[in-house]
C-alpha cells in the first residue's frame, strides 16, 4: 500500500510510535536520508520512504494509537497492516504514555521490535529502567538507543532479525478467537470497532473497544510499575525552565524577551545588516551593473527584449536581486529562529500560555504554532494547521493566516516603509492587523457551527537544540523555499514586463481606476502593485515603494496589501488542504475583505485628518477600537445566549 514496486524478498519495515519520540531521527540514522525533525508533536505529516539495506524503511506520523481517530491514525494503521516488520520507537522517559501504542502493536501480533529511545535522559530525570524486564513482559526485542547521537542504532540493525510477534494481553486473546478467518492484527482492529477494516471483510465492527482499552491501560500501568523506578527527584533544569515558561508571571516576560530577541535577529540583523549588504552592495552594486553592461553589448536595453531582461522588472535584474539579495537572507534568518524554537520544545509551552487568549478566536492554544510560523512563511504555516484537532480549527486558522498574517518577506518591506514614516504608523499598523485578527476570528467562531475542541496536549521535554539539526533543517527548508519561489518570481517578472511593454498595464490602470482612486483614494499607479500582489504579497508591497504618495496613502496601501489575497504558493496549499471549493470561497472572501477594509480605512484616516491633522493616528486607532468592540461584544453575547 505504501511502497508500490516491491521486489521479491524485500521487506517493508515501518517506524511507528507516539508523536515526538524521535522516529524521524531514527529514520535519518538508519537510512542517511534527512527528514524534518523538531521538538514538538506532529512534525512529520507525511510518509517518508528510504532504503535500509535491501529493505524499505517507512517513517510515519506520530500517533497515540491505531483506531481511525484522525487521518494520521488511518494512514499509520494501514502502513502497519501492510508491514512485514514494525520498529516501535518509544521515549524511555515517557514510557507510561508510549507503551499504550506498543501494547496495541503487540496485541496485533505484527513482527516487531522496540527501540527504547532517549535512554540518556533517564538519569537526570531521576528514573531507572530495566530493559530486560520490559523485553520479557512484551515478548519482543527491546534495544536501548539514543538516536540523536546514533548510540544503539547499529545494535538495532543487527537485532532486526530477532523481531517477532509479542505476547498479547490475555483478555484480548479470548476476544480474538471470535474472528478465526482474520489475521490477528485485523481481528484486533475489528473487535476494537474499526468500521473500515470490518467493512473490508464484510463484518460488523465489534464493540469491545472500552473493555480492551481499559485492559490495555492496566497492562501498561503494570509493566511501568515493573520496569520503571523513580530513583530521585526530577533534577533536570529543563523541567524547571519548562514550568517558568508556562507560569504567566514568569512566562509572559520570558515570551516578550524571546520575541524581542527574534526581532533583533531577524528584523534587525538579517533584514537590515545582512540584506543591506547582499541587496545593497552585492546585487545592486556589483551584480546588476555587470548584467546590464554585459547585456548592453548584445542588445539594446531599451528594446522590448532588453526591458524584459534588465528593465524595471527585469528577469535578470529585479527577479534575481529580490530572490537572492533580499529573500534568501531573510528566509534563512527566519528559518534559523524557527528551528531553534521548534527544537527547544518552547512552542507547545507558548500554546499553553496563550490558550485562554486563543479561545476568543475560536481556536485553542495549539493554534499559536501555525500563527507564529505564519510570520515566517504563511504557506508552511498553513500546512502545520494539520496539527490542530478539528476541521473547524483548521478552517479558522487557515483563514486568519491567509487574511491577516504578513509573512517575513512582506513584513520586511512593511518594516522598511513604515520605519521611514515614523513609529506612530508602525504601532497603528500592528494594532490594525491585531484588530482584524481578533474581529474576524471572533466572528468566525460565532458563525461556524460546532465549538472549539479543548486543548489536550502532551508537553515535550525542554531541550537544548542540536546545532547540527538546526543548521541542516534551516538549510533544507531555505533551499526548498528558493527552489519553489524561483520560477514564480521569474514568471511574475516576465508577466509584469510584458504588461508594460505591450501597454496593457496602462489599460489595467484605467480599468481599476474606480477601485484605486475612487474607493481607496490611492494614485492610479497602485494598480501595478495590486497586480503584483496577486503573484506574491511581498511583491505587491515592494511595488508601493516605487509610487510617490503621501504617508496616509502609503499606510492605506500597506494595510490593504497585507489583507490582500495570499501568494500563489499559499493559495495552492490552501486549495490542497481545504479543497478547491472552500479554498475558492476563502480566496474571494479575502479579496473582498481586503478592499472593503482598505476603503473604510481610507475614509477613516482622511476624515480624522479633516478633524485635526495632529491627532489623525490616535483618532484612527479609536475608530478601529470602536468598530471592533461591538463586533466582539455582540458575537460573545449571542454565543452565551445561544
Amino acid at each position: 500500500m505504501v511502497v508500490k514496486n516491491k521486489a521479491e524478498g524485500q521487506k517493508i519495515i515501518v517506524l511507528a510510535g507516539n508523536p515526538n519520540v524521535g522516529k524521524s531521527v531514527c529514520f535519518h540514522r538508519l537510512t542517511g536520508q534527512y527528514v524534518d525533525v523538531s521538538n514538538f508533536p506532529g512534525t512529520t505529516m507525511e510518509f517518508c520512504c528510504g532504503k535500509l539495506g535491501n529493505d524499505f524503511l517507512v517513517d510515519t506520523p506520530g500517533v497515540y494509537g491505531l483506531s481511525a481517530l484522525n487521518a494520521e491514525e488511518v494512514l499509520v494503521r494501514d502502513a502497519v497492516l501492510s508491514a512485514d516488520l514494525v520498529i516501535n520507537v518509544v521515549d524511555a522517559v515517557h514510557l507510561d504514555r508510549d507503551l499504550f501504542l506498543t501494547c496495541q502493536l503487540v496485541d496485533m501480533g505484527v513482527p516487531m521490535m522496540v527501540a527504547l529511545n532517549m535512554v540518556d535522559e533517564l538519569p537526570e530525570r531521576g528514573l531507572e529502567l530495566d530493559a530486560g524486564v520490559l523485553e520479557n513482559r512484551l515478548g519482543v526485542p527491546v534495544v536501548p538507543t539514543v538516536a540523536t547521537t546514533g548510540a544503539g542504532i547499529d545494535l538495532l540493525k543487527e537485532q532486526l532479525f530477532r523481531a517477532r510477534p509479542g505476547q498479547p494481553d490475555t483478555p484480548v486473546e479470548k476476544i480474538l478467537g471470535r474472528y478465526p478467518n482474520l489475521s490477528r492484527s485485523e481481528a484486533l482492529l475489528v473487535s476494537e470497532g474499526d468500521a473500515e477494516v470490518a467493512a473490508r471483510h464484510g463484518l460488523d465492527p465489534g464493540d469491545e473497544k472500552e473493555k480492551i482499552y481499559a485492559a490495555r491501560r492496566n497492562r501498561v500501568n503494570d509493566i511501568c510499575a515493573a520496569v520503571l523506578w523513580e530513583r530521585g527527584a526530577d533534577a533536570a533544569w529543563a523541567t524547571r525552565l519548562g514550568h517558568w515558561l508556562i507560569r504567566p508571571v514568569t512566562g509572559i516576560p520570558l515570551l516578550l524577551v524571546t520575541l524581542w530577541l527574534m526581532y533583533e535577529l531577524v528584523g534587525v540583523f538579517f533584514a537590515q545588516t545582512v540584506v543591506g549588504y547582499t541587496e545593497g552592495v552585492i546585487m545592486s552594486g556589483y551584480y546588476e551593473p555587470l548584467v546590464r553592461s554585459l547585456l548592453g553589448r548584445v542588445m539594446d536595453l531599451h528594446s522590448p527584449a532588453g526591458v524584459i531582461m534588465a528593465g524595471q522588472f527585469g528577469l535578470l535584474t529585479m527577479a534575481v536581486t529580490y530572490l537572492l539579495g533580499l529573500l534568501l537572507p531573510l528566509v534563512l534568518g527566519f528559518y534559523l529562529v524557527l528551528s531553534l524554537l521548534e527544537d527547544s520544545g518552547y512552542l507547545p509551552r507558548i500554546a499553553i500560555l496563550m490558550d485562554r487568549v486563543m479561545g476568543y478566536l475560536g481556536l485553542n492554544g495549539q493554534a499559536v504554532i501555525p500563527v507564529v510560523l505564519g510570520f515566517g512563511c504563511v504557506t508552511m504555516a498553513i500546512i502545520t494547521t494539520r496539527l490542530l484537532p478539528g476541521r473547524r480549527e483548521r478552517r479558522i486558522a487557515t483563514f486568519l493566516l491567509a487574511l491577516s498574517v504578513p509573512c517575513s518577506a512582506q513584513l520586511a518591506f512593511v518594516a522598511a516603509i513604515l520605519g521611514s514614516l515614523g513609529p506612530g504608523y508602525m504601532f497603528l499598523y500592528g494594532f490594525i492587523i491585531f484588530s482584524i485578527m481578533a474581529g474576524v476570528g471572533t466572528v468566525l467562531d460565532r458563525l461556524l457551527p460546532g465549538s472549539t475542541a479543548p486543548l489536550l496536549l502532551d508537553l515535550p521535554s525542554m531541550r537544548i537544540p542540536r546545532p547540527g539539526n538546526v543548521l541542516l533543517k534551516t538549510w533544507t527548508r531555505t533551499f526548498g523555499f528558493i527552489k519553489e519561489a524561483f520560477p514564480i518570481f521569474l514568471g511574475g517578472a516576465l508577466l509584469l514586463s510584458l504588461l508594460r511593454v505591450t501597454g496593457l498595464m496602462e489599460k489595467i490602470q484605467q480599468l481599476l481606476e474606480p477601485l484605486t482612486t475612487g474607493w481607496l483614494f490611492l494614485p492610479r499607479e497602485t494598480a501595478g502593485a495590486i497586480i503584483m500582489g496577486f503573484i506574491r504579497r511581498d511583491f505587491g508591497t515592494a511595488g508601493v515603494m516605487e509610487i510617490p504618495m503621501e504617508p496616509l496613502q502609503v499606510f492605506v496601501a500597506l494595510v490593504t496589501l497585507t489583507m490582500f489575497v495570499p501568494c500563489i504558493a499559499s493559495t495552492l496549499v490552501i486549495f490542497k488542504e481545504r479543497g478547491w471549493r472552500e479554498g475558492a470561497v476563502m480566496w474571494l472572501l479575502i479579496l473582498a475583505l481586503a478592499f472593503l477594509g482598505g476603503g473604510l480605512l481610507a475614509r477613516v484616516v482622511f476624515f480624522a485628518r479633516a478633524i485635526s491633522p495632529a491627532v489623525t493616528l490616535p483618532l484612527t486607532a479609536l475608530a478601529v477600537t470602536l468598530a471592533l468592540a461591538p463586533v466582539v461584544l455582540l458575537s460573545r453575547r449571542r454565543q452565551r445566549v445561544g
Binding site: 494509537g65 507510561d96 504514555r97 528514573l127 491501560r217 511501568c224 510499575a225 499553553i352 489536550l456 508537553l459
Partner: protein, 90 residues
C-alpha cells in the same frame, strides 16, 4: 470535585470523564478513570498541567470542567506512598 478546581502540587485521582470523545483522547495520554496524577501547574483561567511519572499533559480549562477528580492530598501535606505492584514474569 472538578479538575479545574485543583491547585498546583495536588495529588488527584480521576473519577470520571463526562464526554466520550474526550475520554478517548485522554485515554491515549494515560488520563483514565482510576489513575493517580499530580497537578504540575495551573495557569490562571488557562489550562491545567498534569504530571504522570515524567510526562506532562496540558488539559484545557473547558475540558477540565468535564473531568471529575478526587483530591488525595493537597500541596505541602504528606503524600501517601502507593504500594508498588510487584509481579513476576510469567
Amino acid at each position: 470535585m472538578l479538575l479545574d478546581k485543583v491547585k498546583r502540587g495536588d495529588l488527584i485521582k480521576i473519577i470520571s470523564i463526562a464526554d466520550a470523545g474526550i475520554k478517548q483522547r485522554a485515554l491515549r495520554m494515560g488520563i483514565v478513570e482510576g489513575v493517580v496524577l499530580t497537578c504540575a501547574e495551573v495557569i490562571p483561567a488557562g489550562p491545567v498541567v498534569l504530571g504522570k511519572l515524567r510526562q506532562e499533559i496540558a488539559v484545557g480549562r473547558s475540558l477540565a470542567r468535564h473531568i471529575d477528580v478526587e483530591l488525595l492530598s493537597r500541596a505541602g501535606e504528606t503524600i501517601p506512598v502507593a504500594t508498588r505492584l510487584k509481579s513476576e514474569v510469567c
